[in-house]
């Protein structure tokens, strides 16, 4: 696997508390990497460390297999969670200024901005002050500024918070397109729906520690094989009496004369073993192995 970015054994203490405790992540090239975790888990701290805004107490960072260097800010594009623009400054001028701080010449910046502004229908606003723009337009400008210098690594901290649904869709489309074109993307979120939709890989951080990392399909498969949804024609005795002690009944409900039972297997017995126990005693109409959603996995880990 081609690795673009690695963080190894990152530890960061703030006065009084530990923000990150021995956290390592590996981000494959040209993938979308979800950084998950509840509020206060340490996601933003890790992202700030990757952006070299703050320094870790311990640990090492590698970009393209080389130790991260201050000049690498050029190769990284960052859209922070707390984001804004100078309200009194003109949009175009401000975009050029921020591009210049990334190390692009004013001429290049202007040329590339023109393309992006046209794509997002922002051109008429070039000479307007930022405060005259709607929130949605400001978000578009912020997005353009983040990706303008064609960074290898893009980092979005809670990109969907505060975006309206139209911009969320636009942003998702752009993220997928950017990946297509070769960019690697890290984004932090606690919106699990968008994780399943976009991410290839994830890392889950809880209480300053990494609790889970890997390819999202692998993880979901790993958590599958434990819960089964069974549909029965009828049920006269309690379900527990039909099964041995390796199974636990989570819920039973009746619907349209049918009985739905959710069963948890304590020992990963596999679906056949469960079926074998049931088939002789009741009429099985439906049987389904439940693949947990990222949301369930998330909740399981952080509670």
């Amino acid at each position: 696997m081609d690795i673009l970015f690695r963080a190894e054994h990152i530890t960061k203490h703030y006065s009084g508390h530990c923000a990150l405790d021995d956290v390592s992540i590996t981000v494959p090239r040209q993938r979308i990497f979800g950084l998950l975790g509840p509020n206060g888990a340490g996601k933003t701290t890790l992202i700030r460390i990757i952006n070299q805004i703050i320094a870790p107490d311990e640990g090492r960072l590698f970009l393209n297999n080389k130790a991260l260097h201050p000049s690498d800010v050029k190769k990284i594009g960052y859209l922070p969670e707390e984001r804004g623009l100078y309200k009194k400054m003109k949009v175009g001028e401000q975009a050029i200024y921020l591009a210049r701080l990334k190390g692009i010449s004013a001429g290049d910046a202007r040329r590339q901005l023109r393309g992006w502004f046209e794509k997002f229908d922002l051109m008429p606003w070039w000479n307007k002050k930022v405060e005259e723009l709607s929130k949605g337009m400001q978000q578009k400008v912020q997005f353009i500024i983040t990706v303008l210098h064609k960074p290898d690594l893009l980092i979005f901290d809670e990109p969907f918070s505060g975006f309206d649904p139209i911009n969320v869709n636009l942003l998702k489309k752009e993220l997928l397109r950017l990946r297509q074109e070769g960019a690697t993307i890290i984004f932090s979120t606690h919106n699990m729906g968008s994780v399943e939709e976009l991410c290839d890989d994830i890392a889950l951080i809880n209480k300053s520690r990494k609790v889970l990392e890997g390819n999202i399909r692998d993880i979901r498969r790993q958590y599958a094989g434990q819960i089964y949804d069974v549909e029965l024609e009828s049920l006269d005795t309690p379900m527990e009496n039909l099964l041995d002690s390796r199974y636990q009944v989570i819920s039973t409900s009746r619907n349209n004369g049918l009985v739905q039972v959710r069963v948890k297997s304590r020992e990963r017995t596999g679906s056949n073993e469960l079926l074998r126990q049931l088939i002789d005693q009741v009429q099985v109409i439906g049987f389904n192995e439940h693949t947990p959603s990222m949301n369930e996995i998330f909740i399981k880990h952080v509670t």
């Binding site: 006065s15 952006n51 805004i53 921020l98 990334k102 912020q142």
Partner: protein, 446 residues
């Protein structure tokens, strides 16, 4: 990396210089300063309406002593006081002076009547004349010739000479030095406050608009802070230089276009023209007065000429920049530590107190510019920008200036270091009420 600081400085500079408020201030400032210099000259030329004063002198001893003067015309009235007051009511006179028979024995019986509020100049003028007359009469009664007294009354005007170490003599002009020192001190104080709080507001703007995290992902927090401080400093410098140039230009133009206004005419000459006969003694007295006045005016001119303006302006620029960098860093640190302008108060106090203290002490320093208080306050970097500028017009040994300058540089290097440690943590900290203990932690944090 340094071109990023340059980019930041450029933005900070241009965004402020293009503001309407900057342009207005830059133009209004010199006009205000120039008019402060020119207005008094012009105002004295504009004469008030002449005051008509009727004199009812029951004693008959004094009325002929009142000679018409600048803006005051006296008319002796032979009639009684009641008729005089009637004339005043009809509008013939602005005021009526009543000198009763017993005036000499009991001066408090003197009365100056008027319909409107009493004109202060008229009252002072009348009082002055009567005082002189009463004194003359009393001296005569005591057997002393008033002329002897007049001869005794000698105008004294000491020329202060300072002997420099190399043996050269130089005339000292404490009044001029005082004025210049005071103005420079105030200007430094104002500039530091004005542009220091611009730094504070700028940092706060970046923090509250949430743009700061976007920027610090491209540049180091220290670069952003220094870029802002230097950019605003250049704005201050630009404004100062434009002020100096425009002020001199305006004053010069007014002077060149209306030279007669600036031709010196002492008030006392008006007194002379009003009198028909001049006896030799009076003439001598006038001459003395004019001469004295002339030398005072001449001395101010001489004093201004003796001031080394290039040195003044250069040291002003140095101490302004030094003091501004020292305080600007502290202002930046405050801006980074708080969430809104309202929260700045608790941290502003310890920063403004030394500056305010220097401003207050400037008066004391002016009265003794080479004393120990002046020396120490011009060495401590927190007060030296203001105090040193107050002292420099009086002449300060070069070694002292250099020592003070070196300490000021050390001072701002230290405050910049201190501020950068608060700043890098503060700009990313939201929604937290910060205490001094917290700041101390930020400073110590690795």
């Amino acid at each position: 990396m340094s071109h990023k600081i340059a980019t930041i400085i450029k933005r900070e500079y241009l965004s402020r210089v293009r503001k309407r408020s900057f342009i207005v201030m830059t133009i209004l400032g010199p006009i205000l300063m120039a008019s402060l210099m020119v207005a008094p000259v012009i105002l004295t030329q504009i004469s008030d309406k002449t005051q008509e004063v009727g004199i009812v002198d029951d004693s008959g001893l004094f009325y002929y002593r009142f000679r018409d003067a600048n803006n005051i015309r006296f008319t002796p009235l032979p009639s009684g006081i009641d008729q005089a007051l009637e004339l005043m009511r009809q509008g013939r006179f602005d005021a009526v002076l009543h000198i009763p028979e017993i005036a000499f024995e009991s001066p408090s019986s003197l009365r100056l009547f008027s319909e409107k509020a009493t004109n202060l100049n008229t009252k002072l003028y009348v009082e002055n004349i009567l005082k002189q007359e009463f004194e003359g009469l009393k001296l005569g009664a005591a057997g002393i010739d008033p002329e002897i007294l007049r001869k005794v009354d000698t105008p004294v005007n000491i020329h202060a000479i300072r002997i420099k170490k190399d043996g050269l003599e130089q005339t000292d002009h404490p009044e001029v030095s005082m004025g210049l020192g005071f103005v420079s001190g105030i200007l430094i104080y104002l500039f530091i406050f004005l542009f220091g709080s611009q730094v504070l507001r700028g940092v706060l703007e970046e923090k509250t608009s949430r743009i700061v995290e976007i920027i610090v992902s491209s540049v180091k927090p220290f670069q952003l802070m220094m870029g802002k401080i230097l950019g605003v400093g250049l704005v201050g410098l630009t404004q100062f230089l434009i002020w100096i140039i425009l002020t001199f230009a305006i004053v010069g133009t007014v002077r060149a276009s209306m030279p007669e206004l600036f031709h010196f005419t002492p008030d006392e000459q008006v007194f002379v023209t009003g009198s028909q006969v001049l006896n030799p003694q009076e003439l001598q007295a006038q001459r003395d007065m004019i001469q004295q006045h002339d030398t005072q005016a001449g001395q101010i001119m001489q004093g201004l000429a003796s001031i080394n303006f290039p040195v003044m302006i250069l040291s002003f620029i140095f101490f302004f920049l030094g003091g501004y960098l020292l305080y600007g860093a502290l202002f930046a640190a405050i801006g980074s530590a708080v969430d809104s302008e309202a929260d700045t108060q608790q941290f502003m106090l310890p920063v403004t107190i030394p500056l305010l203290f220097a401003f207050i002490m400037a008066q004391m320093v002016m009265s003794n510019p080479s004393g120990p208080v002046a020396f120490w306050l011009s060495m401590i970097p927190l007060t030296s920008p203001v105090i040193m500028m107050v002292r420099i017009p009086f002449g300060v040994p070069y070694t002292e200036v250099l020592l003070s300058a070196a300490l000021l540089v050390a001072g701002f290097v230290f405050t910049t270091w201190l501020a950068s440690r608060i700043y890098r943590t503060g700009i990313l900290m939201y929604g937290k009420k910060v205490s001094y203990a917290e700041l101390w932690k930020w400073i110590r944090h690795r």
